[in-house]
Amino acid sequence: MKRLFFGGIHPKYNKEMSTGITEFKSIAPKQVVIPMQQHIGAPCTPMVQKGNLVKLGQKIGDGEGLCVPVHASVSGKVVAVEPRPHTSGRDVMAVVIENDFQDTAVEMVGCDDPIEKMDKDAVLHAIREAGIVGMGGAAFPGNVKALSSMGNVDTLIANACECEPYITADDSLLRTNPEQVLKGMRILGTVLQPQRIVLAVEDNKAQAIEKLKTLLPDYPQIEMKVLPTRYPQGAEKQLVQSVTGREVLPGKLPVSVGCAVFNVSTFAAIYRAVRKGMPLTQRIVTISGEAIAQPQNFIVRIGTPFHDLVAAAGGLNDKTERVISGGPMMGFAQKDLSVPVIKATNSILCLLKDVNGAAENPVCLRCGKCVGVCPMLLQPLYMYRFVNSGRLDELQRLNLMDCMECGSCAFTCPGKLPLVETFRKGKGLLREASKK
C-alpha cells in the first residue's frame, strides 16, 4: 500500500467496541465544573460569582489576547469559583454550577444570510463568541486559526481521521450529523476562500464514508479523501502531507505551507455557532476500553465530571489500571475522576493492566524499528541515549524538538523503552538551556 506520510504504525484499533450502541444518551450532570482554561493561550477570567444564577449558554468567563470565552453548559446556581483538578494534571480555576435541570437558555440568534452574502468578520466573531477551539485535542482557538489562515491558505482540510485507537467520537458525529460538518466546512470555506476543501477520513469508517457519499453531491466545492488507515495520520503535519504531499516546516504551523486543518467536530460547532448562535457547551465523547462495562458515545455537557460518564457507562472493572483523557497513544492518564470533560476531550479510556507495558529493565537492542516508524524522520534510539547522557548538543543535532510525542516508537520498541517520557524530559532540558 502506498504510504502517504512517513513511518507510522498499525495498532489494534478496537473501534467497534464503542460503536455498538448507536443511540447516544445525553448525560444530565448534577454539577458541572467549567475550567477557565480549555484552550491553548491565556486563561479566562471568571465573570460570575458564587451564588449567581446562570442560564444555559451564558458566558461565564472571557479574557484578552489568545483566548476564547467559556459558557455555562447547564442552567442553575454557581456554587463555587475556585481551582479544581483539570485533565492537564494541574488545578485550574473553575466555575462550579449546580444544575437546576431546567435548561433555561440565553437567547441564541443565528445568522440567516445566504452563504455567499455572509460577512467574514461576523463569522469570525461568532466563532470566537461561541468559544470554539480545536476539538481534536490541541484546543487552539478557532477564530485565531481562521484569521491567521485568511488569504494564506489554498487548502482547507477537515480532519476526520480519528487515528487513535478506541475513539469513535468524530465517527459518531459523521454517522449521525454529517450535514452539520459539511455546512460548517462551507461556512469556513466562504471565509478562507481556499482552492480545495478536503474532508479527509481514514478507510476504517465505512458507514460514515457511505453516508457522506450520499450527501456530497449537494456540496460540489467539497471533496472527500479516503486515506488508508495508519496512525498517526490525524496529526496535523502528517495529514497535510497525506492530503497535499507538502511537509510543514520545522516548528511551523500548517499555514506555512498553505493549509488549514480543523477537526470535523470543530466544523460542526462552527455551523451551530454561526447558524444557530449556539455556544460550545456540549460535545460527543467516547467512553471505551476493556475496563468499562458498556463502551459507547455520549452527548456530554462541557464540565461533566468523568465519574458521571463512568457511572452512565455501567462503571469500572475492579482491575482498572488507568483512566485516560484522550486516546491510548497520546492521552493523559488521570488520577482523579472528578476532573471534568473539557472542549477538547474526545474520549475517556479505561484500561486494564497492559501485558505489553513498560519493562522493568528496558534495554535498547539497537534494532532500529523506532527509526522506521517515526513520522517525523527522527532517530529515537539515539535521542533516548543522548537524553540519558545529557548531551544537549547531540539532542539539538538530532532535532529532538521536532518530536510530537505520537508514541509510535515506544509502541513498536521491543525493549519497551520509556521513549516518549524520556523525550519530554529531553525537551525540558533543551528549553531550559535555551533560556540561559
Partner: protein
Amino acid sequence: MKLTVASSPHIRGNFRTSRIMMDVVLALMPALAVGAFVLGVRALLVTAVCVVSAVAAEWAYSLATKSRQTIVDGSAVVTGVLLALTLPHTIPLWQAVLGSVFAIVVAKALCGGLGQNVFNPALAGRAFLMLISPLGMTRYQGLDGVTSATPLHHMVFPELPSESVLDMFLGKCPGSIGELSALALLAGGVYLVIRKVISPRIPVAYLGCVAVLTLVFHKTNAPLQWMLYSLFSGGVMLGAIFMATDYATSPATAMGQWIFGVGCGVLTVVFRYYGIFPEGVTYAILLMNAFVWVIDRYTAPRRFGVKKGGAKQ
C-alpha cells in the same frame, strides 16, 4: 481504586526482545539440521556445548558483577548457536567453550551488554579461536570422514570446486556446521523477514555486492559458475543473513544498512581474493562493525520539512 498515572503511550505492541531471540534461533534450525545431517551428531554436540557455555558465561558474569540477571532475554542462546554454526564440527570441545565465553564476556558483557557491544559477539569469538587455534578452526572433514578441503579451498587456487552448484546449494559439501546449505540459510532469512525481525536490506546489499564483484572479477573462465560458487561456499550466506543483521552491530538507518551491506560485500571479496585465509566473511563483518555509529550519523534521515542539504521546500 488506585489509578496509575504514567506517560503515554498507554498501549504497546507485542514485539518483545525474547520473541525476537526465539525467532532468530528458530530461523537457524534448518541450517543446524543440515549440518547435523551431513556432518553427523557431533555437530549437535558442538552446538549444545556452545549454547550451554554461552548461557553459563552470561549467568556467571551477572553473578560475579552483582548485576541484573540477563539470561532470560535469550540473547546468549542466540550467540551460542551462531558461534557454533561458524565452527567445524571437529573442533575440540574446550575450544568451543573458550570461544563462547570470549564471545559473551569479552565481546558483549564488557562492552556494556546487550545492545551496547561494538563487535558481533559470535564473530568475535570465532576470530579469537582463529588466532589461538588456526588448525582446529580449519580442519574440515569430508562426507567420508577424511579430512578434506572445503569448496572455498579449491577456489583459492583458483579452480571451481568438485561439488556441483546444486549440491552446494543444498549443503552436500564439507564446511562449518551452519554454512553448508544456502537453501537452509535463505529459508531462515525469509522467515526473519516475514516475521519482521530483520529488514532484507543488509543481506540483499551484501549478497548482491558479492555476486556482482565475483561476476565481474571472476577467476575462472566460467563467470556465472564462479559467482554461484562464491555465494554458496564458505560463510557468506550465514554472515549476510544472520551476522551482518545483528541489531547491536549494524546501522539503524535504512541508508546506513545499504552502505553497511555493500561494505561487508566488498571486504569479503577483497579478503577472499587477497587474504591469507580462504574465507573473509568474519573479518569483513567485524571491520564494518567498527563503522556502524559513524555510518548511522552520516546517513540520518533528512529533517522533516527540510530538503536534503537544508534548503527549504
